[in-house]
């Protein structure tokens, strides 16, 4: 059984195509993150799943039930909002109980389930308080309890942590993840914070301009970005154009503005135009491995504690490199960089076809 399925879902607002042909299949119990910059369509996708938007075309299935035109109150989806959206006139207890009241759950069971849910987020002591008497972190935990107490078929998170400070964000996201694992509820989590997405999810869905750029587990998406957008959005990347000048089946040589680079690829042929990338942390600084070595001049060296960020001018092209800990780098110093062949990823290729 799939937890959630979107089939070719599109939604426009006036002339603006917010999402454009989204296809997504989420396994039961899986934790998926929709990641992308603002305006990429991630929140529209989430609100379409919740039922606040009816798609212009396409189908939405929750647990194999077609819900495309079902109103939000009959979807059994629990949602956590960025603003928490607690009911200000109700106590914590009544906030959590609201969904059960709407479902006409017997009062005794309501009482028991609300108490369980509050215990789960460790807020039993604050059951009688009003939301305005709670801290941001506590409010978000109430919102979480309120969303899970109805035993939803799918849990939806709309940037739930963006109003919390950095420390709290880390602890609450661990809490969300462990709670989700324990309850096994299929979850869709929207964020623009790539670190958050990599930490929390089983799979990451990277979106841009209303379309899905790449779907994969966090390591794969980071290590094998499928497009220039993904490479630039997740982590840091040097993204360059080049032309294939030699190819022997497994190894190709690509001529770029900072030198001829050898990289692995089986499909490229001589004369192909490519866009490729490599991560700054894969660049080996001041220690030639003999592979893809280039000489340059330090343009900028930024010491950041655990690492040093270098911008090196190689034949007029700036290459970014990062190395652990610092060295004694100064602007204007000559430096040798080498980039292992397996650090390169081909993002776009034009085989002349």
């Amino acid at each position: 059984m799939s937890g959630l399925r979107l089939v070719n879902v599109s939604k426009s607002f006036g002339d603006y195509k917010a999402i454009d042909g989204i296809d997504l299949e989420v396994q039961d119990g899986e934790f998926i993150t929709l990641l992308g910059p603002s305006g990429c369509g991630k929140t529209t996708t989430l609100r379409t799943i919740a039922g606040f938007y009816t798609p212009d075309s396409g189908e939405v299935y929750i647990k194999d039930r077609l819900v495309t035109t079902v109103p939000p109150n009959r979807r059994n989806a629990g949602m956590c909002f960025q603003s928490y959206a607690l009911f200000p006139h109700m106590t914590v207890f009544d906030n959590v109980r609201f969904g059960l009241r709407m479902r006409r759950t017997p009062p005794k069971e309501q009482q028991r389930r609300v108490e369980e849910a509050l215990a789960m987020v460790e807020l039993e002591q604050l059951a009688g308080r009003k939301p305005s008497e709670l801290s941001g972190g506590q409010q978000q935990r109430v919102a979480l309890a309120r969303a899970v107490v109805i035993e939803p078929d799918v849990l939806l998170f709309d940037e739930p942590l963006s109003n919390l400070d950095a420390k709290l964000r880390e602890s609450v996201r661990v809490e969300i993840r462990s709670l989700q694992r324990r309850l096994g509820i299929t979850s869709i989590y929207v964020t623009h914070d790539q670190a958050e997405a990599l930490v929390i999810s089983d799979r990451v869905v990277v979106m841009s301009r209303g379309k899905i750029e790449q779907i994969g587990d966090p390591f794969w998406v980071y290590d094998h970005p499928a497009t220039s957008f993904v490479a630039g959005f997740i982590g840091l990347a040097n993204i360059r154009r080049g032309t294939v000048t030699a190819a022997d089946g497994t190894v190709v040589t690509v001529k770029s503005d900072f030198g001829d680079m050898t990289m692995h690829d089986e499909d490229l042929s001589i004369g192909s135009e490519v866009i490729f990338c490599f991560r700054p942390e894969d660049v080996i600084v001041s220690g030639s491995t003999g592979q893809n070595s280039v000489r340059g001049i330090i343009d900028q060296a930024i010491f950041m504690g655990n690492l040093t960020d270098l911008f090196v001018d190689v034949g007029g092209s700036l290459v970014r490199a990062q190395m652990r800990k610092g060295g004694n780098f100064k602007k204007g110093d000559p430096i040798e960089l080498s980039i292992p062949a397996d650090a390169f990823r081909i993002l776009e290729r034009d085989n002349g076809t």
């Binding site: 109150n73 949602m79 200000p88 006139h89 609201f98 309120r146």
Partner: protein, 283 residues
């Protein structure tokens, strides 16, 4: 500032425009009305302390007028709020046709109560438009009496017509303060449209609703032009009775008593509403 006491005097003098205004025009007028009701500062006769004027408080005429005006006050405030609340919900999200509707609704705001009463009297009088239409459609076979009815239904209708935009403004403001997320959360948790109105809109808009009701009550309770034109011959509203007592019967001191009754009743009702507001918002 060598002399602190003199500096103090200047400070006090600076307060005169503000506090002086309150004292002279508000406190003193109320005080004179109260004193007049006890025969002091009399306009017409000799001034001497007496509680004679207060005997009218027990007269059937004054009691009937008071009860009638209370009824008008409560009826108009409840009626206007009941009419305005659904409209405020409807107009919550703007669109072009809603904006036009919103502008049309505001028209009565620019029409004085007296003119409004004339307009509506024309509509509902014995041979007015409404009766003509009812007769034409054979819904009734003789005109219905809607003007100057014993229970002041006509007055309440005019009050609602006249004050709807004003009350709508207050209620819309308090509904605008409710976040979309809060409503989405309720929908997400299984609340249908009616449940959202009942559990979210009504309780969260309640402070605004109560304010609207208080202001509306004061307007309708103390109203003169509408009830004098459209109200029943008997009982007259308390304001109309005050006017006739003073001008027709030349009993200014007794009119002052009625004035005091109006003020005190208003204060009691406001206190009652505030208490209610306290209970409602605590829930």
């Amino acid at each position: 500032m060598k002399n602190p006491s003199r500096a103090k005097l200047v400070d006090y003098l600076l307060l005169v425009p503000g506090i002086g205004y309150i004292f002279v025009f508000i406190t003193s007028t109320v005080a004179v009305t109260v004193l007049q009701s006890f025969g002091l500062f009399s306009v017409t006769g000799e001034s001497h302390f007496t509680i004679e004027n207060w005997k009218i408080i027990a007269s059937k005429g004054v009691i009937d007028s008071l009860v009638f005006s209370l009824m008008l006050g409560v009826g108009s405030s409840v009626g206007t709020v009941l009419a305005a609340f659904p409209l405020a919900l409807l107009l919550r999200k703007t669109s072009s046709w809603k904006r036009s509707l919103g502008s049309i609704i505001k028209i009565p705001l620019f029409i004085p109560a007296l003119v409004a009463t004339f307009l509506i009297v024309n509509l509902i009088s014995y041979d007015g438009l409404v009766n003509e239409a009812l007769l034409f459609l054979h819904i009734v076979n003789k005109p219905v009496r809607m003007l100057n009815d014993r229970w002041g239904i006509g007055v309440i209708v005019i009050q609602i017509w006249k004050n709807l935009p004003f009350v709508l403004l207050i209620i819309s403001a308090s509904i605008a303060g409710i976040r979309d997320d809060t409503i989405d959360a309720a929908r997400n948790l299984g609340a249908g449209r009616l449940a959202v109105v009942w559990h979210i809109f009504i309780p969260l808009a309640m402070p605004g609703v109560l304010v609207a009701m208080i202001l509306m009550f004061i307007r309708a309770f103390g109203d003169y032009p509408i009830t004098s034109l459209e109200g029943p011959v008997y009982p007259s509203s308390i304001a109309v009775r005050m006017y006739t007592t003073a001008t027709l019967y030349q009993q200014w001191d007794q009119a002052a008593v009625i004035g005091v009754i109006i003020i005190v009743t208003t204060l009691f009702v406001v206190a009652g509403y505030s208490k209610l507001a306290g209970i409602v918002t605590r829930e």
